[in-house]
Every structure is written in structure tokens, then in C-alpha cells.
Amino acid sequence: MSEQLIYELSVPGRSGTRPPKLDVPLTALPTELLRDKLPLPEVSEIDLVRHYLRLSQLNYSLDHGMYPLGSCTMKYNPKVNEAAASLPGFTGLHPRQDEATVQGALYIMYQLQEQLKEIGGFAGMTLQPAAGAHGELTGVLIMRKYQLDRGEMQRDTILVPDSAHGTNPASTHMSGLRVVEIPSDERGNVDLAALKSQLSDRVVGLMLTNPNTLGLFDENLLEIIELVHECGGLVYGDGANMNALLGIMRPGDAGIDVMHFNLHKTFSTPHGGGGPGSGPVGVAEQLVEFLPGPVVRQAISVEDEFPYYTLHTPTQSIGPVKSFWGHFGVIVRAYTYIRMLGAEGLRRTAEHAVLNANYLLRRIEGVYHVPYNRLCQHEFVVEGHFEDAPEVHALDIAKRLIDYGVHPPTNYFPLIVHEALMIEPTETESKQSVDHYAELLLKIAVEARETPELLQEAPHNAPVRRMDEIRAARQPILRYVPVDSR
């Protein structure tokens, strides 16, 4: 089943739109600057709508069924969020309008800043970063500048555990700092001895994901933070996994100095097939003035004593990390979610996320090898490999799940687990849905022994069969080229 490219549907002379009539006198065009050809497709509106409708049907999405992609928190995206974000007084605001004319929007941003500070235990918050990785870069730049402004010029190193997501070392590198990797111990915690051996006055800080990417809460969290602080370093928290901690623990209370949130994970905003996300960054008191600008401040207007909101750039700001103030459309959705849930709802969210994960883990342990078998948080990692079915790999299990109409877990991450399958059910899945997923995993484990080729050949009933990724990389075709000009 395949769909033609939009270019292949093109018929010269068609268009899907009629622009308004020109209602002003003509000015001559600068002919020497005009382009000669514009090879865009020409399709009618109905052809276009059908094209995209057919494409959409080739996708699996969260609204189809369970999507337990570890580390991504694919929880249900409430529809009220969409209704909220499409209100005309939000979608129609120009970011450079006079502050007095955008008070409704600034109010929401201010409230979300305050709410995230409260949830995370931070003194300051920026909503500007566009995604998690962007928040990391922001946070690492803040840590770097803080150390430089203290005169600690020799500090050039960020410690990153080997279980960290690839964006952590990549963000560090972009900030101009050096990455030193810290191994994990046999319980999945940061190896304390290894950490100690790397602590020195070269350390800007440590980037910690907690719960970590194995889904485990580091049992030595407080000691780790204390050790890093003692050597003059800061602790960055990768907040990708905050869904386990909402109302359970505030990372700021435990001493985390900087942390990004992922509104597209924890706060239920749609993932959009790969964005837009939003990665607000919270910081401890001593870092507030380093935040990227601007942040929203509340002022009391003199005349009428109504709160008034303004955009303000912190004094030692690292500078803006993107245009304007952040992904406002995503911010409205996250605000709506927090208003719907309140403190109680957030806590129950985390509790049920952790409940679902532990329950699924217990249902499949023994059949799947669990390399770090402790109580997990909102997700867990098993090996997608069986000793008595050596030719079956995690990838095959993932592809076989597709045949059964569910989305596979994250595979091959974290890198420290052999043939990793990283499973995050999220709290919005019912017991029935988690049970169903467990039964599929158990069934596939049997198939792996009895009919391994069924897995290796999977998927069998997806819109396409297994794709040739090697060919894609060896002979890259990265754009449509019309047949006659190839």
C-alpha cells in the first residue's frame, strides 16, 4: 500500500487556492530579481486533502492505541488542550505587540512559570526553550556562565553518566565544554567511586537523569548531589522523566540546581510526529539572573491595582536561545492540563504512571530478562533477547508487536543494556490495555522459540514491510527529483 508523492499528483494549471484580488494600483516588479521557475506541485484542494488523509492512515498514533515508547511519555493528549490553544486571542497574537495588548497571554505564561517552579521546587523559570535538548543547552550554558562569573575559569567539564540520553553529551559539547562519562554500577545507579574519581575543580557540573533512563530512581541521589556541590559543581537534572515525580518529589528540594521539563511529555501536549515540543528550564536561586531572556514578571499597576505582566531580561542572562518567548501554543496546552489536574491530579498521575510500569514489569519478568530488577519508576528496561532463541533480536520483537496493532517500546536505548526494550506505559493506559500489552509480549516470547522467522520477517500486516535502511543511508535520496531530470 503506497501513496504517490504530492508532486506525482500535480497537473499543470491546477491550484488549491484562490488568492484575493489585487485592490491597489500596480507597481512595477524588479524584473532582474524575479525567479524564472518555481517547481512546486499543482493540485486541487480535494486532491490535497485526500493525499494527506491517505498519508495519515499510514501512521500509527497515540489515539490508535498504546504507544509505550520509553523516555517519551506518550500519554493521552486531552482534547481540551487543543480547544484552548486554538482560541483566537492566542493564535492571533503577534509576538511583538505592545505588552498592554497581550496581557491575557502574558498572564498564562506567568502562571505556568509559577506552577512549574512550584512543581519542580525552583526559584526561577524560563519558558523559552523549544524542546528538551534545547533546554539542556540552555541549562548547560547557564551553568557555564555561572562558573565563569564566579571566576572559576578552569572549570571546563560536565560529567555525564553512561546511561544518559544522547542529547546530554551533545548539548554539553555544543556549549563548548568537555564531556566525561561516568559508568553505572550494578544496581543501575551512578557509580559513586567513579564519580568521586572525576570530581575536581575542573567540573562545571553533573548532568543527571533521575529517575534515570533505566527507569530507576538513583538510590544515592542526595549523596551524589552533595559530592558535586562540595567540589563547587552544579547538578543539572534532565527532567524528561518528571512524570514519575509529579507531586512525589520536587527535584529542587533535593538540591538539583537546573532542570528542564518536557511539556510534550509530562504535561500532555501532542508530540506532533516529532515536535513541536517545549523545554522550560527551572533554576535555583543563585542562577535566576542567568536565565535566557525574557521571562514574564508580575507588576502591580499603579493606577488600578490590577496585576500587570511584563517581559523582562535577567541581568546576567546567557542571552535568548530562540526568537520570541517560547512555544506559546504548547504553553497554553500545558497550562490547561495543570488547571484540569491541580496538585492532587498531578500526584495521582505520577502514582499511576509508576503503578502501570511496575505492574507490566511484574507481568513479564522471568520471561524477559530484567537486568536491573528493582522497583521501577514510570518505565523500565528489559532485554529483548532470549538465550534459547539467539537469532531473535529486540528489533524483531518490536516489529512483531506492530503486527498485533500496538506500538513497540523504545529499542536499543539506553546503550548500557544489551538489546534494550524500554517500556513506558504511562498513567493514561487502563489495566486492560496494560494487560493486553503484557500478553502480547508473552506470546511473542513463545513465538521467538517456536517460529522465530515470524519475528524476523515482521511486520507482516503494516502498510509496508521492513524497510531497507542500509540502502537509504548508502544511496541517500533526500528529495523528490522528477523522472525527466534524473
Binding site: S15, P88, P476, R479
Partner: protein, 459 residues
């Protein structure tokens, strides 16, 4: 409870399977002193109450779509065809994630492949990635591409002062730890002067056309001049993609990188985001490119399909040696841009671009005819131009908004970024501005003159 479907009986059953007595026991690894904080958050509301509150907040701002608006400076009010939001609102696109499993993500993958193709066609380039966060971060990634292509040997970059000031600021932010020399911002901005700065150390020259003042830079011959001074220096051009419906794209002038803000391609204003950083380069730099790339391939039965490819450039494989840290990008916004470009198509895009050009020129002529206002833009321009005003731009905007018969959202105060540009305003005119709106603006500006002469007080 909203969004958590578990019943009490199910919870108990599940806790029993896990082998714990209570929810709290699941959190035994969390330091007791910090466990279960009291969060001070507003009480939860029903959907009806939340929407009522949000409707009030929506009404508390002035919607630029409902007032004559002449504000641009990096974000533009354009007509978004109804099909765009209809399609990007579909759950199949909106509630999927990055297409890691190509067999069940062909919809997203093919749409992004089409987006990459459309961006190449529009910019006149050979390879486009699946998106950056916005125009400013795309500009910063261009610097990183150029510097890392030189293996950190060339550490000077040259930036025109008329590259969008936000892009320039973000370049400074991103590169603050890289030890780069950033030259050019203190020049007059004349291309000849910028080219003179290109030397052995120069990784790239970044210009923008239409530039921040709305003018089309004369890119003819620029690439050759840059490469004549240093054949390894990359020419990166930021552009407004809608202007390319009409004007020769930077790719045809030999640019090495073309990028910018994709918001004009069917994305609402949304108070500044989410927008779209589009990014295109030459075939030979495809392995230096940041971000996701979708490639065409076949499945095991030979059927055409699409996958994420060349991922050894990326953070999840290459970690600290990746070309960028970007992971989640602007997938849904790239889809919107692809739908927009396909809906308008070859003719429509040109027509909309021309409407922008014509209306902006009409507005400029009318304003220039006023006694106290004059248009400073002398080079060809697209849909933005600079007006010298008889008073600070802020004062005029205040009059347009509050002192005139109805609200008009005026232009951008250039003195905010260019202190020597006192009393200068950048006005944007798009297809959304009717002749009546433009005439009203002109009357209002004339009214400002009169009001100044009479010394009236509009407060």
C-alpha cells in the same frame, strides 16, 4: 479522576501483583524527607470552567487578526488556508512521535520527505533537513555547520548587521563557549564591506535577504566574491520563504546554506511559536547537516517507502560528536508548511507573494506622500519597509492604538535594535491588509501630524 482510568479494585489488584501494600511503597527509593511535598497549585477545574477561564484570557488581548496590523519584524500575519489546520489537527499526525518505526510511520515520513523536497525547490538548494526550532536557531546551526566543517580551524564568522537581531543574538548565545570571533555587526551592512572581512580564518558569512529592513540584498556575484577570498568560506543566506514565490532564490546565487523562519508558510502568529526553522544546504554538506533527515528507500518487497536516515550524524548515535543536539524538532510545523506550499502551489505562491509586494509598495507610496513621514528604503523590497517618522516610533504606535478612531497595530520600533535609527519604524504589509486598512493607516498617520501641530492630547 481525569485521564487516569483505574478503578479502586484494579488498583488493589495491580498493587498485589507488584507485591506492595500501597502506592507510597512504590516510592520507597525517594528520600523520605522530600517525599510527597504539598504543592501549592490552584484547585482543579472541570473542562467547562477551564475553557471559561481561557476564553476570558483570550478575550483579554488584542487579536492581531482582528485589527489592521502592520507589524512584522520576523513574524507575519498571513492567510492560513483552512486545509492546513484541518490536516495538522488529525490525531494520526498530531499524536504520533518521531517516526522511529518506519513501517507504521509512513504518513509522517512521506510528508516530511515532501517537505524537504518543497524546501529544496523553493530555496534552490539540494538537501533540506526535517526542521529546526525556528529561524534564529537555524541561523545558529548554520554557524555550527560552517565551523565544524572546518574541524574548528576556521573560527571567524561574519554577520551582517541587517540579519534579524534575534538571529544574531541567538548566534551569540549558542556560540558563547566556542571561542569564535563574530565580525561584521558593526559595519554599515554594505555587502562589499562585509566581503572585505572574509579571510583565511572565516568559516562563514551570513546575510539576510530580504534583510531585517525589508530590502532585497543584491546577491548576484556575492558567492563568487566570498569564495574568491576564501574558497572554504560558506555563504549562508537567511530569507523569508514567501518572498521566494517571486524572487530568485539564494540557491540560484550560489549560497551554501539557505535558512530562515518558516512561519510565513501557513503558521499562525501564536504569540511567537511554535514556528519552523527551515534549513537547506548543498549535497556535499549533507553529512555535516544537523537534525533529522528522511530518505527514500524500499521495503523488503521492493515497495517504495521512507525512513529516517544518515543518523550517524545525530546525538543518539554519535553523542558528543554529533552535528547537533537536536532531537524533537518541529515536525507538525513542517507538515503545515508542506501543506501550505502544496495548496498554493506554483501559481498561488507567486500570487500571494506578489500581493505582498504590491500592497507594501502602495502603502509605502502613500506614506511617503505625507508631509511628515518619508520612506527610507531605496533598494527593492518585498513586504516591509522603513519609515522615518516625526516622532519616536513608540509614540506613533501609541497614537495608532489608542489615539485614533480605532485600534491599529503599528510597525516595529527600529531604535530598539539600532540606536542610531531614532524615529524609524519598520512596517509590514501582507495580503491580509486591504486597501481600506492601508488607507486608514495613512489617514491615521496624517492625523498624527495634525494632532502634533495642534499640540493635542490624545490621552
Amino acid at each position: 479522576m481525569v485521564y487516569v482510568p483505574h478503578t479502586e479494585a484494579e488498583r488493589r489488584e495491580m498493587l498485589a501483583v507488584i507485591g506492595v501494600e500501597s502506592m507510597e511503597e512504590l516510592f520507597q527509593d525517594i528520600p523520605a524527607a522530600h517525599r510527597y511535598p504539598q504543592l501549592e497549585l490552584p484547585e482543579p477545574l472541570s473542562e467547562m470552567e477551564v475553557m471559561q477561564e481561557l476564553q476570558e484570557l483570550s478575550a483579554a488581548s488584542l487579536n492581531a487578526n482582528e485589527a489592521p496590523t502592520f507589524l512584522g519584524a520576523g513574524a507575519y500575519r498571513h492567510w492560513v488556508p483552512s486545509v492546513v489546520n484541518h490536516i495538522i489537527g488529525r490525531s494520526e499526525f498530531a499524536t504520533a512521535y518521531t517516526p522511529y518505526q518506519p513501517e507504521i510511520s509512513q504518513g509522517t515520513l512521506q510528508a516530511i520527505f515532501e517537505y524537504q523536497s518543497l524546501i529544496c525547490d523553493l530555496t534552490g538548494m539540494e538537501v533540506a533537513n526535517a526542521s529546526h526550532y525556528d529561524g534564529a536557531t537555524a541561523a545558529a546551526e548554520a554557524v555550527i555547520q560552517a565551523v565544524s566543517a572546518s574541524r574548528m580551524k576556521r573560527k571567524k564568522i561574519i554577520v551582517s548587521p541587517y540579519v534579524n537581531p534575534q538571529y544574531r543574538q541567538v548566534i551569540h548565545t549558542y556560540t558563547q563557549g566556542m571561542g569564535l570571533e563574530i565580525a561584521g555587526e558593526a559595519t554599515s551592512g554594505a555587502l562589499a564591506e562585509l566581503v572585505q572581512l572574509v579571510d583565511k580564518q572565516t568559516a562563514c558569512l551570513i546575510v539576510q535577504s530580504p534583510n531585517f529592513l525589508g530590502e532585497l540584498e543584491s546577491l548576484e556575484g556575492l558567492a563568487a566574491e566570498v569564495h574568491a577570498r576564501n574558497k572554504k568560506t560558506l555563504l549562508a543566506v537567511a530569507t523569508n520563504p514567501l518572498s521566494l514565490g517571486l524572487f530568485t532564490p539564494p540557491g540560484a546565487y550560489g549560497a551554501d546554506i539557505v535558512m530562515g523562519e518558516g512561519q510565513p508558510l501557513g503558521l499562525g502568529l501564536n504569540f511567537g511559536g511554535p514556528y519552523l526553522g527551515f534549513y537547506a544546504t548543498r549535497e556535499k554538506y549533507k553529512r555535516n547537516l544537523a537534525g533529522r533527515l528522511v530518505g527514500q528507500t524500499v521495503d523488503k518487497e521492493g515497495q517504495r517507502g521512507y525512513v529516517l536516515t544518515l543518523s550517524t550524524r545525530e546525538q543518539h548515535i554519535r553523542r558528543e560528536r554529533a552535528t547537533s543536539n537536536i532531537c524533537t524538532n518541529q515536525g507538525l510545523m513542517a507538515l503545515a508548511a508542506a501543506i501550505y506550499l502544496s495548496t498554493l502551489g506554483k501559481q498561488g505562491l507567486r500570487q500571494v507573494a506578489e500581493l505582498n509586494y504590491q500592497k507594501a509598495h502602495y502603502a509605502a507610496q502613500q506614506i511617503d506622500a505625507l508631509e511628515a513621514f518619508s520612506v527610507l528604503t531605496t533598494k527593492p523590497f518585498f513586504n516591509e519597509f522603513v519609515v522615518q517618522c516625526p516622532a519616536p516610533a513608540a509614540e506613533i504606535n501609541e497614537f495608532l492604538l489608542n489615539g485614533w478612531m480605532f485600534d491599529i497595530i503599528g510597525g516595529y520600533d527600529l531604535s530598539k535594535d539600532y540606536p542610531d535609527r531614532q524615529n524609524q519604524m519598520l512596517l509590514a504589509v501582507t495580503e491580509m491588509n486591504t486597501r481600506t486598512e492601508i488607507d486608514d493607516l495613512v489617514h491615521a498617520l496624517a492625523g498624527f501630524e495634525a494632532h502634533r501641530i495642534l499640540g493635542g492630547d490624545h490621552e
